[in-house]
């Protein structure tokens, strides 16, 4: 009773925050946003603590919650949610990411701050319900709802080519998700054919799908996979990503790379793997290959890119390639490792983009063609950035190492070749991340420092606080990664 209320609680709080944000005066929006999201983070951790901090998965299982509310009974639609070892961590992550994104100072607090804050909280709501959803249509709706704030983010506070970025982003994702919807319809009508009533509740569907021939599940599976491949994204479905990341305002970029990409991960864990085991099994080789290729290909693009945001955009494709490699190794260990690496990537990329914004404020641009040598002027900022860089090259002792290591370890059993191919990404990662850091921080000072920078001082105490928090997570996760694997 108490537990099932916790779910609706987690979903309603962000909505409440949206409403409140419209009565808060413009000047206080940032304060409100930060404290609000911090509070939500705390509440989320509190509500899910049973799962988060239980020593083993078995212990955590006691706290898993299922909830189902009737909605459109005529179509068999219900609002079905499930809090479990996977979703719990992603809830925490989305709250954390929101906090980080809100923490950034920028144009979005000067131009229509109300819209920004409310959209941020709405995004949090949509993400949470997507992460919790166990009902196909609930998931689809939340999945689509995530677009609305993102479109505003890019559309209102974005850089110059925002329009084309938005449309590309929206149309590609929409093409994917609507095919996923059709796939859902196929599954639902299978259920209808078998039982005579409509349902979109995952458990019901699973019961039916279990005794459906593989070939008739092929296309639905493809529909789901395509949607998630575009979302994550996997090569070659990443065409939208660069333009959007570069043109989005920094909070938008943080949200996108840290948490939106994880929608695809969760989707695969929640829906694809249980619904279409046979199909996936049949095409496992291809899927692993695609993941490995994404790792390498994106890394190569990152090596070639001459702009900070672009480079990080490609690097996150590369990292997510590792995650998918883990999921497609088709072992619970692999999925867990994937989750762990997703957490790592979320925190790390959040930190990277966060600090990148600080760098941009201090250097005016993120051009990597010339060394800026900013580390001399801003040692603390760049120490933070360096730690983030180390985390993203998944040095042992950081959060990402455990994930990447375990992913590869499990993928190696599935396919040695793909694993070795992907592992090359470890080298390439070092190449581009070090170059990234060197061009921004090292070398002769003042080669590319414009005089009209916004900020001249090193990291402020407030920013330092955030960095310390993130570094803390990174290091703690490096020492005790087990906590993130409760799937």
């Amino acid at each position: 009773m108490e537990t099932s209320s916790s779910l609706s609680f987690l979903l309603t709080i962000p909505l409440l925050a949206v409403v409140i944000s419209w009565v808060i005066p413009k000047a206080l929006q940032r304060i409100y946003a930060i404290f609000g999201s911090a509070l939500i983070l705390a509440l989320t951790v509190y509500e899910t603590s049973g799962i988060l901090f239980s020593s083993t998965t078995e212990a955590a299982k006691a706290y898993f919650v299922d909830q189902r509310l009737e909605w459109v009974s005529e179509l068999g639609l219900s609002a079905g949610f499930r809090l479990d070892g996977v979703s719990a961590w992603f809830l925490v992550l989305s709250a954390l990411t929101t906090l980080v994104a809100f923490y950034l100072r920028g144009i979005w607090y000067r131009k229509q701050p109300r819209l920004f804050v409310s959209m941020g909280f709405f995004l949090l709501f949509a993400l949470n319900s997507a992460f919790l959803a166990t009902d196909l249509i609930t998931f689809y709706l939340s999945y689509e709802a995530v677009f609305i704030p993102m479109i505003f983010m890019v559309g209102v506070w974005g850089e110059n080519q925002k329009a084309s970025a938005v449309f590309r982003f929206f149309l590609m994702s929409f093409a994917g998700s609507i095919l996923m919807l059709v796939a859902m319809f196929q599954l639902m009508s299978m259920h209808h054919a078998a039982t005579g009533q409509w349902s979109s509740h995952l458990p019901d569907i699973l019961k039916v799908v279990a005794n459906v021939p593989v070939e008739s599940l092929l296309w639905p599976g493809a529909g789901f996979l395509l949607a998630f491949a575009i979302k994550v994204p996997l090569v070659p479905f990443h065409g939208w990503l660069k333009e959007v990341y570069v043109n989005a305002p920094m909070p938008g970029t943080i949200w996108m790379s840290a948490i939106l990409s994880k929608l695809g991960v969760v989707g695969v864990i929640r829906f694809v793997l249980p619904l279409f085991p046979a199909v996936i099994k049949e095409y496992q080789g291809a899927l692993l290959a695609v993941s490995a290729v994404s790792v390498i290909y994106a890394a190569l693009l990152a090596i070639r890119s001459n702009e900070g945001k672009t480079l990080l955009a490609y690097s996150s494709i590369s990292h997510l390639g590792f995650v998918m490699l883990g999921l497609f190794s088709l072992s619970s260990e692999g999925s867990n490792a994937g989750v762990l690496l997703s957490v790592g990537h979320a925190v790390t990329s959040g930190m990277l983009f966060y600090l990148l914004h600080q760098v941009e404020e201090r250097s005016g641009n993120l051009d990597l063609t010339t060394s800026k040598g900013l580390a001399t002027a801003y040692p603390v900022l760049f120490s933070g950035l360096f730690i983030a860089v180390l985390a993203s090259v998944s040095l042992p002792g950081t959060l990402n190492f455990g994930g990447e290591f375990l992913v590869l370890l499990n993928a190696y059993r599935a396919s040695a070749l793909c694993t070795i191919l992907a592992a090359l990404g470890v080298i390439l990662g070092a190449v581009y991340m070090l170059r990234f850091f060197q061009r921004l921080g090292l070398g002769k000072t003042g080669t590319a420092n414009p005089v009209d920078v916004l900020v001249k001082k090193d990291l402020s105490l407030a920013d330092l606080l955030m960095v310390v928090l993130l570094v803390g997570i990174v290091i703690y996760g490096g020492i005790n990664p087990g906590i993130f694997m409760k799937g």
């Binding site: 090596i303 070639r304 040692p379 603390v380 042992p396 370890l409 470890v426 070090l434 990291l459 005790n480």
Partner: protein, 605 residues
């Protein structure tokens, strides 16, 4: 005790790191002396701990301290545990002992540097990681140290990061090490696949199928070539000399670069299973020893010479491991740590004395000026030449002996190593001669200015000098680590041969450079290996990257653009029908109607 051993450097790192960050933020300056003494104290304490821990080791076997469960997933569970046995204790002693001295040395060496706090933090970090490497009870933990020391070395090579060259050198080191680490990773996967665990105790004992075994050995060895600068991945080490000299002494001579030998020795039971693997190791080791010895003869930079000599000496060690004489290898690691650290520090004090002069052809006649440096250097020189009774004599002769007599050894191997020894004698004597004897070849002012280093720098020199003199007699304990290859007293023949070889090399060098007017020789990377690499890999990577960039812009983005264009075009084509005349519409509708009626009827009737 063991735990405290690794915690001291960590504490040092944290204190110095936090302090220097804080002061950097406030624009104040960390006092080198204070932070230096903090770091040094930490290392001395660690050394004490190491000695005490050493005392606790049972005659055979090891002490294990289980710290905490690092991560566990499914059947795999990896603990964070420290494991001290004879082998690792040798390394811990070397690391902490030599480390302590070098820290002490650095205190005055880095006196002028405003970032000294950072420097000592990094140095402590390195020692912490290095201890993790040698004490790690599980492969991932070893890997943690393995990559950690790589990080520390990256940081310290590029310590003066305002110079692009230094940063580049650091990156080169890190990335080449990463290539090796890839081998380590995959080797771990294989090991896990076949032993179902990542504990060293388990993996050591695992019996691998033939093919797999070989690939396992080769992958591990790939890791070693990266870390220990063997062919083909040795080119980063000479560049690594961009870092401060004590760093070169500690990381790139005494400790980090020898971790490859440690890994091989640690996994020797598995390694020895694959004859092919062993042969490859021996061959590569010998080849490296020879080639880099040759290159060393053509260097002018005093540190470069020592760097190449380090690579060559490492080659000796790997050759030893390759023929199954892991004990000999480890023994040479120890002695080499003593004398090479000594040589570097001495070189450092020379450079310090000459205010940054590194070209040996701009030196000479420093014997009087720097007496302590001279005498200690002499000890090191004698040791590396392998003159009895200096430490190098024992270890090197044993390696030569094993290369000849051990069942996987051969005359070829012995010959190659012998030639390498001759060359070693040659370039070391060349260096020795050019630096300390003859007439000074730098301007008078500089020569007059040259001064002996202060006590904190001199003291480690002396200590290490003693060690390089007497270290050879510590051979016995080493072989506790590997009873299976007990110390076989080298036959007199080999002793004499090797001494003669050394003598020949030395005399040639002495005669060649004794002429009153030495003409400067150009530096040359004899085999152009570096250039070839940068073309091959740098260029190759560039090509692939450009290719994928082309693919991205033309194909991936092009597809998207094309879809958009096609949609738009077809839309406009349909629009053309909208001519605006009602009668035209009527006509089109009638045509459509007729066509459809035709098909419809065809279906029906």
């Amino acid at each position: 005790m063991i735990t405290s051993m690794i915690l001291f450097p960590l504490a040092g790192f944290v204190i110095n790191g936090a302090w220097s960050l804080w002061s950097a933020r406030n624009g104040t300056r960390v006092s080198p002396r204070v932070s230096g003494s903090i770091a040094t104290t930490a290392m001395v304490a660690a050394f004490m701990a190491a000695i005490m821990a050493r005392a606790q080791i049972p005659a055979t076997g090891s002490i294990e301290v289980d710290c905490f469960r690092w991560f566990s997933l499914g059947s795999l569970s990896v603990d964070f545990k420290l494991r001290l046995d004879a082998l690792s204790s040798i390394f811990t002693l070397v690391i902490t002992g030599v480390g302590a001295m070098i820290h002490l040395y650095s205190v005055s060496y880095m006196e002028e540097d405003e970032a000294a706090g950072k420097y000592f933090a990094y140095l402590n970090l390195f020692c912490f990681m290095m201890l993790n490497l040698v004490l790690g009870g599980t492969l991932p933990q070893v890997f943690l140290g393995w990559e950690g020391v790589g990080l520390a070395s990256y940081l310290l090579i590029g310590f003066w990061y305002r110079e692009e060259a230094n940063v580049a050198a650091g990156q080169k080191a890190f990335i080449m090490n990463r290539i090796g680490d890839l081998g380590f990773l995959i080797a771990m996967f294989i090991g896990y696949k076949y032993s179902g665990s990542l504990d060293l105790t388990t993996v050591e004992k695992v019996i691998l199928p033939a093919g797999v075994g070989t690939s396992f050995v080769l992958l591990i060895f790939l890791a070693c070539t990266g870390k220990s600068a063997q062919l083909p991945l040795f080119t980063w080490l000479p560049d690594a000399m961009a870092g401060p000299t004590p760093v070169s002494a500690l990381i790139h001579a005494a400790t980090m670069v020898t971790s490859g030998v440690y890994l091989l020795a640690r996994l020797s039971p598995v390694i020895s299973q694959s004859a092919t693997g062993m042969a490859v190791i021996a061959g590569i080791g010998a080849a490296t020893a020879l080639i880099t010895a040759i290159i060393a003869c053509f260097q002018r930079d005093i540190k470069k010479v020592l760097a190449y000599s380090t690579v060559s000496q490492l080659g000796f060690m790997f050759a030893a491991c390759g023929v199954g004489a892991f004990g000999a290898g480890v023994f040479h690691v120890m002695t080499h740590a003593f004398f090479k650290a000594l040589l570097f520090l001495a070189a450092g004090s020379v450079i310090h004395g000459l205010h940054g002069e590194q070209d040996i052809f701009k030196m000479g006649g420093l014997k009087k000026k720097l007496p302590v440096t001279f005498w200690t250097f002499t000890a090191g020189w004698a040791a590396i030449l392998g003159l009895p009774p200096f430490s190098g004599f024992f270890s090197k002769d044993e390696i030569l002996h094993q290369a000849l007599v051990s069942n996987s050894g051969s005359a070829w191997l012995f010959g190659v190593l012998l030639i390498a020894a001759v060359l070693t004698a040659f370039y070391m004597t060349r260096l020795y001669r050019l630096v300390f004897f003859g007439t000074p070849r730098m301007d008078q002012a500089k020569f007059d200015h040259a001064h002996e280093s202060p006590v904190p720098m001199a003291l480690p020199l002396v200590l290490l000098g003693v060690l390089s003199l007497a270290g050879g007699f510590a051979g016995e304990p080493v072989h506790l680590a590997h009873p299976e290859s007990a110390l076989s007293t080298p036959t007199w023949v080999i002793m004499i041969v090797s001494v003669i070889a050394a003598a020949i090399g030395a005399t040639i060098a002495f005669r060649r450079y004794s002429v009153s007017e030495v003409k400067a020789e150009p530096t040359s990377d004899v085999f152009r290996i570096d250039a070839v690499y940068s073309k091959l890999f740098g260029g190759g990577l560039g090509v692939i990257a450009s290719a994928s960039q082309w693919l991205e812009e033309r194909v991936v983005q092009g597809m998207i653009r094309m879809v958009a264009a096609v949609t738009d075009l077809s839309g406009n084509m349909i629009r053309v029908l909208q001519v605006g005349s009602a009668q035209a519409y009527l006509l089109m509708m009638i045509i459509a109607l007729v066509v459809m009626v035709f098909y419809f009827m065809k279906g029906v009737v």
